[in-house]
Symmetry: C2
Subunit: 416 residues, 2 copies
């Protein structure tokens, strides 16, 4: 075994999952590292935050995912550095791990863009831990207001969401349904209908990656559900009890959800190279690092150009998954002495849902869907992409429950 | 509304649930208090601890349970005292709550019986929080050993369970299956088969409430699954890396599960009365407090005698549920000027499961079951008793998954 090439994969998000798929049972020893013991299905995080799905449906055991990969080892540890010269990965609580080939899929962190108070007082929504914390905070805010009605006057029932991309829009829509379907019954002593859900974005429209029609539809669908929009303006500061907007408007709230942008993990710094946009690591057409054909970088941490369109690829799960698979195949090509292949992203479209029966889907070749059809498509695609049949079945039950019983069944707060 | 009698129910375990059932939609204003926002289905806690069920299946939103009870209010708060003279309940973060009738169903806490180090170094298993913490600890212990193989020599893979009642036996059996079905595959670098699961009890047999046949069957079933038994001896001390038994035997372990006994919540102290066994509050035949016909005490915090058999009733969920219902009906009788009724427990039997296809059930009239039939009965009864159809469906999926895929699907650790 000692003379088999050693491949190390950093991170088990969509990028690491894709790479693992390409490297299963090949003639190489693969070590997979992640700081958590689970893979996160990020597109459904907001459903954990809004009490529709339980964390165990959206987080999947990494050991279960790879324990049938005969050539894989997994360690739960935090990566602290990469030594390109020695070809080793430094981790928090183990000796450095040597590699012959490296696939770095370390993802990103939330970017607060230096907005005053944002880091201290807002709730990001990028990890499963974030989603659980946000859910617990919202439930706690309502329980506290129930015991102390004065808090309502201090904005305890208001939620401000910063960022009008899919995460912000989906969270706003789901919160509106949580308020109108559950909290009005759950909290008979609270004026739940006075609780405001406000979505703020610097762009003049929500879902700026979608076409005009879909953006207009999403805006209407949000407003129909009672979500207030503050478009074309930024948040200038976040405090413990309020948010201030560019216009000077101050909104009383104790719950600010930050869905506002990403910065790459500090891989570029470790590698000693000049970072690209958002701290990302520029890569070549085959996703390898310039001057280091043994190192591949994929997913939210990579700044890759599509080999056919020459456009910089967006930070999307689908891009990360395909790039991970491609990087895995390129490692195999290197091992077998074949040339690597440039990466081309096959765009299968993207979707966002605003609430039951209301979604938008923008497909390739200019096809777009909205309303119930888009919503059914959204549900089917996400079910199909979820990891593991058990999670899929649990999700079907939870969604049907949500739809027909009009109840979000996961609204409990288990302290740890 | 002001002249309607005010009923306060303390605690939403089985006792509080029973009382809530009897008082739904009656001509009284009911306030329900609990320190958590969920009711816990305690018989399945060990399945959360052993990664078969997710917490959301075993914990059910109290607000959802009572939001269709037109005369109910719920507050999530911790009770800190009862003032019998003023007829008020003191809570942590609200003004005192007045009552005309009180039903106290405050449950119990784990009793470490003064064993040295037990409180500091062992994991109780009585609450949902306990179950989540225990699961996370076990997963973390294996992940740590995976990164640092020396820990295995220090007992990182050993688990000692103190207490041979249903909780201890069911946990031991479920851990044995978690080790042999999942961890052996999940941790290929660890000698999982050398991990020991040791059950300690002071009595000469496990499940002392069951008959001789069932006890012998349970002992065999545990041993077949590799569980080591240390019967007829007590634990004398618990340290961070070991447990010492009465025999002098020292077992290296970092995971001690305390399933060893209960002490009642401090209600007797608050009421200023002499506590009974285990700190419980002695009650009259109708479950009311001597000299205070407006106060009823039920469940693990009560020391009640059955009105027909005159035996002290055991601390069981089924007793608490029936007593809660009875106390609720007696409050109604008081309101309507009718005499109260003495409480009689209808024993429907009790059960414990050791693993797939292996359970014991002791029914009334001397009927007993063991093996697959008892296991099917155990599963059906627990499913039927679970709160809410969504939880039942989720549990069916999880159990079938566990049975046919031989995988515990919830083995992830989400830090909060």
């Amino acid at each position: 075994m000692a003379d088999r090439p050693r491949v190390v994969i950093l991170g088990c998000g969509f990028g690491g999952m894709g790479a693992s798929h390409s490297l299963r049972d090949v003639a190489a020893d693969v070590t997979l590292l992640d700081k958590n013991d689970y893979h996160t299905f990020q597109p459904l995080l907001y459903q954990v935050a809004t009490a529709t799905l339980e964390p165990e449906t959206v987080g999947h055991s990494i050991r279960e995912l790879v324990h049938d990969h005969s050539n894989f080892r997994f360690h739960q540890t935090t990566v602290t550095g990469v030594n390109l010269a020695d070809r080793t990965v430094e981790v928090e609580d183990m000796p450095p791990i040597p590699y012959d080939y490296l696939i770095a899929a370390l993802g990103a962190r939330v970017n607060f863009f230096g907005v005053e108070g944002a880091q201290e007082h807002s709730f990001p929504l990028y990890t499963l831990k974030d989603a659980v914390q946000l859910k617990n905070h919202v439930l706690r805010a309502f329980e506290e207001a129930d015991k102390n009605p004065d808090l309502t006057d201090h904005g305890a029932l208001n939620i401000v969401i910063v960022g009008g991309g899919p995460t912000g829009v989906e969270t706003a829509g789901a919160l509106a349904e949580l308020f109108s379907m559950d909290f009005v019954d759950d909290f008979p002593d609270l004026p739940v209908n006075e609780g405001r859900i406000i979505l703020v974005d610097g762009a003049p429209a929500v879902l700026h990656a979608f076409n005009d029609d879909l953006r207009a539809y999403a805006k209407d669908a949000l407003e129909q559900r009672g979500v207030e929009l503050r478009l074309g303006q930024h948040v200038t500061s976040v405090g413990p009890e309020s948010v201030t907007l560019q216009s000077g408007e101050q909104i009383k709230t104790r719950t600010v959800i930050w869905a506002g942008g990403l910065q790459a993990s500090p891989l570029a710094k470790w590698l000693g190279i000049e970072p690209g946009r958002g701290g990302r690591v520029p890569v070549r057409a085959d996703l390898s690092l310039d001057g280091h054909p043994e190192v591949f970088v994929v997913g939210d941490v990579a700044q890759a150009e599509d080999s056919e369109t020459h456009e910089v690829l967006p930070q999307l799960g689908a891009v990360a998954l395909q790039a991970g698979k491609s990087a895995g195949r390129n490692v195999l090509n290197c091992i077998e002495g074949k040339p690597t292949e440039p990466f081309h992203y096959r765009d299968k479209g993207f979707m966002a849902t605003i609430g039951r029966g209301a979604a938008v889907a923008q497909m390739p070749f200019g096809v777009s869907l909205r309303g119930t059809m888009a919503w059914l498509a959204w549900g089917s695609v996400h079910l199909a992409l979820l990891t593991g049949w058990e999670s899929r079945m649990a999700t079907v039950i939870d969604w049907f429950w949500d739809l027909f019983q009009r109840e979000h069944g996961k609204r409990i707060h288990v302290e740890e």
